[in-house]
């Protein structure tokens, strides 16, 4: 059995419009000399080169017990639709016998792997990773994600104005890979404090594909969260329709066109999305919210054109 742990942080890029393709490279170029991968179809997507950071810390091995974990975390950042920025931290946990830390060259030969020195119960470690609240993060993955995100958000090519006000969301995931497994089981949970968790149990799979899947889930969950918060702020039914529509505008300008579940995914990831569409049904909630926004727009337009003549003169 193989355990992979990860965390994804999602935020709106601090730039007033979408980021044009030719500047994406400057913004995401975390490492000199390595290329940013960019694709245009079906949605603009750019991913930074992989970057690594060394860790030597305690990790929860089984209920209550901790072991020492030494190795490296893999990190990367990606930008979707020129507007939504994400950073990821990922590590495969390899239990090894013996309690000695080896020379760093040993760990540098295994990038993205953290060796757990001591008796480790992988499902227990996965459960502890997912059960923690937002204020504590396994192996400092949260802090690593913040660092990657901040570096890009502070880039001089951005104009620093945020189109949609939203809290950064955190999606923690754990994937238990076992060759004997057939198909894939997924548990997606929305926790308080902008925290989401995903538990995957699956057969043989590439780690990069799992990272792609979890980033895609985090992206769409963030879009939904941001849209819901814009709708809530617009006070539909309380404010005048013209006022509500004004507050809905950021959603129309920056969010509505980005919904494209599993756009770049295949294989196992697609089946995970299909499962999530029936429950909790992310796309259903999204579609209903989008219809609500459009209905408000249509109604505001209808009301403004049927305004009585005495108040219409203000608009001349």
């Amino acid at each position: 059995m193989v355990l992979v742990l990860g965390e994804v942080m999602t935020a709106a890029l601090r730039h007033s419009g979408g980021m044009p393709r030719e500047r994406v490279e400057d913004a995401l170029g975390l490492l000199a000399g390595e290329r940013v991968r960019i694709s245009e179809r079906p949605i603009g997507y750019a991913v930074s080169p992989k970057t690594f950071t060394g860790v030597d810390c305690r990790i929860l091995a089984r209920s209550g017990a901790k072991v020492r974990g030494v190795g490296t975390l893999m990190g990367r950042a990606c930008l979707t639709g020129g507007r939504v920025l994400q950073s990821s931290a990922v590590a495969r946990i390899d239990p090894v016998g013996g309690g000695y830390r080896r020379a760093w060259s040993h760990y540098l030969a295994r990038l993205g792997v953290v060796e757990a020195l001591g008796r480790t119960d992988l499902p227990g470690t996965a459960a502890a990773h997912l059960a923690a609240d937002r204020s504590s993060s396994t192996m400092g993955m949260g802090a690593f994600c913040v660092r990657l995100l901040s570096e890009i958000q502070g880039s001089p090519v951005l104009d620093k104005s945020t189109p949609v006000r939203a809290r950064r969301t955190v999606l923690r995931w754990a994937a238990l890979i076992d060759e004997r497994n057939e198909g894939v089981r997924v548990r997606f949970a929305v926790r308080e404090d902008g925290l989401r968790t995903v538990r995957l149990v699956l057969g043989p799979a590439e780690i990069d594909d799992i990272v792609d899947l979890c980033e895609d889930l985090a992206l769409h969950d963030w879009l939904l969260t941001a849209l819901m918060s814009v709708i809530e702020q617009s006070q539909i039914g309380v404010e005048q329709p013209a006022q509500s529509v004004l507050k809905l505008r950021p959603a129309v300008d920056h969010l509505l066109h980005l919904w494209m579940p599993a756009a770049r995914l295949g294989g196992v990831a697609l089946s995970v999305w299909e499962g999530l569409e029936s429950r909790p049904g992310l796309s259903r909630q999204w579609d209903a919210s989008v219809r609500r926004v459009r209905d408000q727009m249509a109604m505001a337009a209808a009301l403004s054109s049927s305004r009585p003549p005495e108040s219409a003169r203000f608009f001349r």
Partner: protein, 309 residues
């Protein structure tokens, strides 16, 4: 937008006014947060009436976020949602249409500290993340020339925060001692302007982003003083005139002023948020005080008053 609240002396009502301004902004629908950077004596918890954080939190507050990154695994400090965590019933009912009202508390065993490169980096990251989320972040600094003040001056000069509006409120009481003291904090040696220029700010631009707020002001014409004898009113008027002259002399006059907060016993003794309930139903606080907070909240966000000369 980032708003920094500073004062030269303690007891100016900086924290209590700032909390009230943040609260009034949230009521009008802005998403706002309050950062307790008064590391020596974090008090915002008690102003917002958060039972578990009266004098800061036990762990994970702003002080440990900035200074103990080793034990911080998430890269985020603790936050408290005032609408749900306040022990005051009238605060817990979040009015419809109001914005977020979030408190970032200090630590109980905090304290002042010296220059620290890592703290600067974390401060920049924090302000950046909060600017993504909130319409206004109010950072309450400790009184006097503190390291917290220098830290935020360096942070706002960082390229990562270029383009983010940063405004300064300097609070002072309307007295003969407080006016020159406030002027000294801004214009004096090692004052905000001095330290700001050293941190890389443009002097004129920084100066145009600093405004004064007069607190505990006695208005000789107010109805509360209508019971005074004519001689007393005349004397008050003379004093007020004298103070205006002193203020103008120290560049703390009308043009550099953002607003005034009247003397209000509720504010002096209770040091808490003044709710509409206190004014209307209980009739203990003055309407003029709440109006002053509303006015301040509006002026802070109004670009016109902050234009460069």
């Amino acid at each position: 937008m980032l708003v920094f609240a500073a004062s030269d002396k303690g007891g100016t009502g900086r924290s209590v006014t700032s909390c009230n301004v943040v609260y009034r902004s949230a009521l009008t629908g802005s998403d706002v947060c309050y950062l307790d950077f008064d590391f020596g004596s974090p008090t915002a918890g008690s102003i917002f009436q958060i039972t578990d954080a009266q004098r800061g939190v036990r762990q994970g507050g702003l002080h440990s976020y900035l200074l103990e990154p080793d034990i911080q695994t998430t890269g985020e400090p603790q936050r408290i949602d005032v609408w749900t965590q306040s022990s005051r019933a009238s605060l817990r009912q979040r009015p419809p249409g109001s914005g977020k009202l979030m408190l970032f508390p200090g630590d109980q065993d905090g304290g002042e500290f010296g220059p620290d490169k890592e703290a600067l980096r974390r401060c920049v990251q924090l302000l950046q993340a909060l600017d993504e989320e909130f319409d206004m972040c109010l950072i309450d600094l400790s009184a006097g020339r503190s390291y917290a003040t220098q830290l935020v001056l360096e942070a706002t000069a960082d390229p990562a925060l270029r383009g983010v509006a940063a405004r300064w409120l300097v609070f002072h009481r309307w007295t003969r001692q407080h006016i020159p003291a406030a002027a000294g904090l801004v214009y004096g040696k090692d004052g905000i302007l001095d330290a700001g220029v050293r941190a890389g700010h443009d002097k004129d631009r920084l100066q145009s982003a600093i405004k004064f707020v007069r607190t505990a002001v006695v208005d000789p014409d107010s109805i509360e003083l209508s019971g005074l004898r004519p001689a007393q009113v005349a004397w008050l008027r003379d004093c007020d005139e004298d103070l205006r002259r002193i203020a103008a002399l120290h560049q703390v006059g009308r043009r550099a002023m953002l607003g005034t907060v009247p003397l209000d016993p509720v504010l002096q003794w209770r040091e808490q948020l003044i709710s509409d309930n206190d004014v209307v139903a209980r009739d203990i606080a003055n309407n003029a005080t709440v109006d002053a907070f509303d006015e301040l909240a509006r002026k802070i966000q109004d670009d016109e008053g902050w234009a460069e000369p």
